[in-house]
Each structure stands twice: as C-alpha cells, then as structure tokens.
C-alpha cells in the first residue's frame, strides 16, 4: 500500500493518472447524464399533484446529495494533507471547494424554481434549505480563504483546518437548524410528502445521482490537473509537457 501512497505524492504521476481516468470517465458521465435526463424528463409518468413541475427533482436532488458529499470529500482531503503532509491532498481539497459550491448553488437555485409553482414562493426558511444555504457559505469561506493567501502551500493547510472545523460543525448546524425550524413552523409547508416514490420515477433519479457523482469526480480531476500545472509551472515535467503540446 505504501508505494502507491507514495506515488500519490508525485505530481506528474497524479497528473497522468487523472488524465487516464478522465479519458474513460468523461464519456461515461456524459452518457449517464444525457440518459438520465432524457429518461427523467420525457419518459417518466407525471406526478398526481405537481404535474410536470416535479421533474426538476432529477437535477435538484442529485445536486444536493453530491454537494453535501463533496464537503466530506474536501474535509477528508484536508485531513490527509494535515496528518500526512501530502501536498497532493491539498490540491484535491482546493479543487473540490468550487465544484461543491457550484453544486450547492445549483441545488438552491433549482429548489427556488421548484418552490414557485409548488409552494407559491421562491424561498422558504425551511430547515433543509437553510442548511444548504449555510453549506454554501462554508464552501465560499474555503474558496475565499484560499484566495486570500499568497503562499499557496499555507493556503492549502489553512483551508484544510477550516474545512475540518466545518465538518465537525455540519451535523451541529443541521440539527440546530432542523430544531429551529420545528420551533418556528409558522408558514407550514410540508417539504417532503410521506408518499414513497414510484419505481418508474426512482430509477432515473438513482441514475442521475450516480451521474452527478461521476460529474463531481470529473470536475474534481479536471480542476486538480489545472491546479497541478499552475503550482508546478516551473518544474521540468510541466515544461516538457508544454513544449510537447506546442509541437503537436
């Protein structure tokens, strides 16, 4: 296990392996996204109460699920970078933050679009929505802190600490917001009905969730490759890579 672990510390190796993974993961992701989207938007039955507007679930739910999971990916990468002092974990963590922030934003945005026809309002201070909003702030905090440091290595370590602090806080924030909402349930709009989702709607949803996970991975790897090139721009392997690209 250790030789592999050691290899992860090598930027050229990581750059190459990320490229190799992307070569097959990117087409699969696109295929899954298109399939899931067409299946979900065109070939599922419409819902009894909401009609066709519920179909936004095929973007909203996967984005929310992966946005939350992305934070844990980021925090774990941060932990690895702090504990084993692995520079490449920094790169992964830095790459995860904007992707996660974008997904959180997509989840909030689609939620608002969905809320208008369903609840008659763009925004409700619902427990889940509020937690997602705070998650967006946590992501943006990491991005902003990284940008504020001139020394990118220190930036990585500082963001690692911040994302770990956030990880400890996410369950606390979630529980307290949940509890706060139940206390204040004035304008009562039940967010999730008790009706279980029909299999014909569920399968495309599962496919879309898987596709979003793959999309997250692709974006993460692409971002990591860009970050690696930028960090290592003065090293030999990047110079060689660049000259090769120019020749081709």
């Amino acid at each position: 296990m250790w030789p592999i672990f050691h290899k992860f510390g090598s930027p050229p190796w990581l750059y190459a392996i990320a490229g190799a993974i992307l070569r097959w993961l990117l087409p699969i992701t696109l295929l899954a996204l298109v399939t899931g989207m067409v299946w979900g938007l065109l070939f599922t039955p419409s819902e009894n109460v909401q009609g066709n507007s519920y179909r936004i679930i095929y973007i909203h739910v996967p984005a929310a699920v992966v946005a939350l999971a992305g934070y844990y990916v980021m925090a774990l990468a941060g932990a690895v970078s702090l504990i084993w002092r692995m520079k490449m974990a920094d790169v992964a963590m830095k790459a995860a933050a904007p992707v996660g922030a974008a997904l959180t934003f997509v989840a909030l945005f689609t939620g608002a679009i969905w809320g208008k026809p369903t609840w008659g309002t763009w925004w409700v201070w619902d427990a889940r929505i509020t937690s997602m909003l705070i998650l967006l702030f946590l992501y943006l905090g990491v991005v902003a802190l990284y940008e504020a440091f001139d020394n990118k290595e220190a930036a990585g370590k500082a963001c690692a600490v911040l994302s770990l602090v956030g990880m400890v806080n996410i369950p606390i924030i979630y529980k307290s917001v949940d509890w706060w909402y139940s206390l204040h349930q004035g304008a009562s709009i039940k967010f999730t009905g008790e009706t279980s989702i029909h299999p014909s709607m569920l399968y495309p949803l599962l496919l879309m969730i898987a596709a979003f996970y793959a999309l997250f991975t692709c974006a993460l790897l692409l971002n990591m490759r860009a970050e690696l090139l930028q960090r290592e721009q003065r090293t030999q392997w990047v110079q060689k890579l660049l000259s090769k690209d120019v020749v081709n």
């Binding site: 911040l162 956030g166 806080n169 917001v177």
Partner: protein, 228 residues
C-alpha cells in the same frame, strides 16, 4: 531556572492580556458602544411600538451581541502577530493548546462577560419582559464564550493576512448560527414562560465541545499563519 508549567504560564498570559486590555480602555469600551448603537438602530428601523420591539428583542439583542463579538475577534492575535510576540509564543515549551485558551479567556472576560453584564439595560430599552432578563444574561454568558472560541479559529487562520477583517466574518458567521439559534431560543422560551434549562444545557454542551476542539484548530491555524 525551569520554565513555568502549563497552568502557571496560562495565568501569566491571562494577566498579560488583561493588563494590555486595561491599558487601552477604549478597546474594551468599543464593543459595548457598538452594542448600544446597533440596539438603538432597531427601533428606528422597526418602529418604536413597544409590542413590536418586545417581539424582536430576544433576536435583536442576541444578533447585536454576536456582531460586537465578531468585530473584536479579529484583534485577538493580530497585535501579537504584528510585533513578533506570536513567534515567541509558538516557540514556548508549554503546550499551545493551553496558551490559546488563555488568550480566548482574556477575550471573553473583556467582551462577552461585559456584554452580558450590560445587556439588561438594553433589554429594558427594547421592552423585553422582565422575566426573560435572567435567561438573557445566562445565555449570553455561555454563548459569548462559545463565540469567542469560534471567532478565535477565524482569527488564527486570518491573522497573517493584510485584509483579514472582512474575510473572518465569512469564515465564522456560518459557525455562529447554532449558537444564535439556541441563545435567542432560550430568551424566547423565558418570554413565553417555558423552562430555559434545556437551551442553556445545549449551549453548555456546545461550549464543552468547543473548549476541547477549538484550541486544536486555533493552534494549527496559528502555526500555519506564522509560516505563510
């Protein structure tokens, strides 16, 4: 001569920080003045009707206390960073975990404790029912200690940055939210005649967790900031 033990060193740091605070009384007064002025803004914005104000009072008082705590958090380590004392602190043989607790303790004594002490005056100005004042002071006493600990993390991470002031709010305001929720809920419960104990217990539990974990993050943050 042997170096002082961790606790003895903590007491030395606490005395130093308090002495520094006393030498510059305006810095102690600033958050209190800020508290008073922001409280004065709310009647102007929300209207002076006593009932309206009473309804908003728990939230207003808590948010204002939170903001004045936030404004002072940035300064916890900054002057020590600028004059090089922080380097010396990091080189001290005593555990940094305890040292940062001393800094936070001093910060709480000069802001949170005083905010809690003056809050009844502003509570009365905002027409908060008298039976809620004890709950307000108690929740502020525990809650501001929590805020100081969380704010210290943000201060430690941004102390090396020239433009840390705005950034620190972005970093730590999301982490402040649970404290705000339970703090203002405690006051609201007291207004409604419900027991306050459970809310204070939750705040206390969060404080214990923060005392155990926040110094770790602060120590790590300071080591990173001094290295950048």
């Amino acid at each position: 001569m042997t170096p002082p033990g961790a606790v003895q060193f903590c007491i030395r740091l606490l005395r130093r920080q308090l002495l520094l605070a006393v030498r510059r009384p305006l810095e102690i007064g600033n958050p209190l003045l800020f508290f008073a002025m922001v409280v004065a803004l709310f009647p102007l914005g929300l209207g002076p009707t006593p009932e309206t104000l009473a309804g908003f009072a728990p939230g207003v008082l808590w948010i204002t206390a939170l903001l004045s705590n936030l404004l002072t958090s940035d300064a916890v380590f900054r002057s020590d960073f600028e004059d090089g004392s922080l380097e010396q602190l990091l080189l001290a043989p005593q555990p940094l975990f305890m040292s940062v607790l001393a800094y936070i303790g001093a910060h709480w004594l000069t802001t949170g404790l005083l905010l809690a002490a003056v809050s009844p005056v502003f509570a009365l100005m905002l027409n908060l029912p008298a039976q809620a004042i004890v709950a307000l002071v108690a929740s502020l006493l525990i809650g501001t200690a929590l805020l100081s600990l969380i704010g210290g993390i943000g201060a430690a991470l941004t102390v090396g940055l020239k433009r840390g002031g705005m950034l620190i709010s972005l970093l730590i305001l999301p982490l402040y939210m649970p404290v705000l929720i339970f703090g203002s809920a405690a006051v609201q419960a007291a207004v409604g005649g419900f027991p306050v104990g459970p809310y204070l217990a939750i705040l206390g539990a969060m404080l214990c967790l923060a005392i155990a974990l926040a110094p770790l993050a602060m120590a790590a943050g300071l080591r990173i900031s001094i290295d950048a």
